[in-house]
């Protein structure tokens, strides 16, 4: 499996967006969880953008955000959405469709 992935051209950069509300407990936990997760699975090929809807409320509509916190995988396509504090790594793996990629 691993040899297979290595033979492939280097994976594209992962663009992740984390939507939070201010510095609430859930938001802080989610950001920490996401960072930890990415360091483990996507080291060196990810970028996290944190969007605070408190400051940019209009983005909630344009990005179809309902739940907080929400992580949106902008790249690679297709777009994936995971909601919650990201404490469940298994669900996160499924949500980001990382099982196959890893």
């Amino acid at each position: 499996m691993k040899t297979k992935t290595l033979k492939r051209p280097p994976a594209k950069l992962w663009q992740l967006r984390l939507y939070v509300m201010d510095q609430t407990a859930k938001s802080v936990i989610a950001l920490a969880n996401l960072k930890k997760f990415c360091e483990t699975h996507l080291k060196g090929r990810y970028r996290i953008t944190v969007i605070d809807l408190m400051k940019q409320p209009h983005l909630a509509k344009s990005d179809q955000i309902l739940a907080i916190p929400t992580v949106v995988r902008k790249l690679p396509k297709p777009v994936r959405t995971i909601i919650g504090t990201l404490s469940d790594t298994g669900h996160l793996l499924v949500g980001l469709d990382l099982r196959a990629a890893v």
């Binding site: 969880n33 809807l53 179809q64 907080i68 909601i83 404490s87």
Partner: protein, 580 residues
Amino acid sequence: MKINGHKPTAPATRLPKCPTGIQGLDEITGGGLPRGRPTLICGGAGCGKTLLAAEFLVRGAVQFDEPGVLMAFEETEKELTANVAALGFDLAGLVRRKKIVVDYVHIERSEVQASGEYDLEGLFVRLGHAIDSIGAKRVVLDTLEVLFASLPNEAILRSELRRLFRWLKEKGVTAVITAERGRESLTRHGLEEYVSDCVIVLDHRVNDQIATRYLRVVKYRGALHGTNEFPFLIGDTGLSVLPITSLALNHKVTNERIATGIPRLDAMLGGRGFFRGSSILLTGTAGTGKTIISSNFANAAARRGERVLFFSFEESPNQIIRNMHSIGLRLEPLVKRSLLKFHSARPSLCGLEMHLATMFKEIAAFQPHVVIVDPVTSLMELGAAPEGKGMVTRLIDYLKAGQTTSLFTSLTHGGHVLQQSEGGMSSLMDSWILLQDFEGNGERNRVLYVLKARGMKHSNQIREFLISDHGIDVVDAYIGASGVLTGSARVAQGDLEKAAVLSSQQEAAQLEREVERKRKALERQISDLRSDYEGEALELRRIAEQVGTRTLLLGTERAASGILRQADAKVTARTRVRSS
């Protein structure tokens, strides 16, 4: 104390209301939805939940200057705009003018993965941002329950929804939340637990293949409301709810009378016809001339310069015009002069409520002085009996309030049940004219009588009415030992009477001739007798003369012989003188 015509101001404790602007709904709820609180509207698919909510928003923005936010979970902005455009609402225009914000919440269960706890702050932010961006006073959440299907962890969702409604109240917006109706509870996910201020249930039922929508205010905390189920419909100007039970008997009345177009019928109604603004029922079996009498009434009113609205549920306008032409009524020029307007529709075209709403709309637009419904029974057959009656009640009430004279024809089939149901309807009517068929002598004749005419002296007589090329003629029917005589029997009776008169006339003439003859005979006799007498008298005179001459001669002779015989001459001479 100053008396003004306005309603007394509501006490301070009364709930402030937020008018929906939806025809009839504000009447039922006593002014609208609870202001600043959420209202739940639930119902099955196709009940009109979204349309009701959308109309609430649009009317709020247009009529009450209350901008609104529509958060749609099921339909996109484009779809919504198209849907409400059918009701004549320009959603896109309102969005452009910043009167309404539409936010389509797209959420796909398959695209969302949950990991850990979450909250709905995103929704709050979106909603809050939308509300603040236009200063919205009204909010619609169209089928919030979609969230249950698309977001995991129901426990979180429930607590978040509870928070949402509290937040909406704090925001002070009047919110409408739509929800699918559940099997056992009002809503599928028990939203009524959270929204407890006002709950409206919509229903959609099919009776006899005709679908009717109903609205019921299940709950309205802190306010009086009509608890009945009210039919409502979705027309091309939005929803209208028909509150049948909110009727009051307080319309103005007038003493003005209007002619029926049939002079003899006027005469039967105290000489001056119906009261203006009264309701008239014209009952009869098929072919008794209901439409003809109605048309005459319409014709008379239109020729007086009044506007007449003719609802026909049996014939097309052209058919009526043609048919009436055959009895000498020319309705076409009246139609051209917009004094007479026909509205024809098949009764089965749509449900009762739809018909009623269409009629209301037509009446409101045409502002008629006289409204004719021909026949009202075919409409009433559409709904259950109380429904139909309720509808007529409502229509009459509406017309009376506007002092519009209404004439309803009612087709009966001559059964007992129908007569009963008509009795039910007749209590609503001010005047009731019955048309009947009389069969006999191998023919069918029409008679008419006034069964009831409130507030006026009216004839108790049965009259026969004839339909000819010149229109309607009401004539006296003969009433004899065998009942009422009509048609040829009446003519025959007339002939009989004429013959009797003739024969007695002839008899008299004959008698006169006889008398004359007798008089003449008598005169002849008299003249005969007179001539007899005259003859005899002449004879007598002649004889007397003869006798005199003879006596004279005799005397002379005697004297001469006396002289000769020297007899007593004196005596004989005296005798002669005496005899002459």
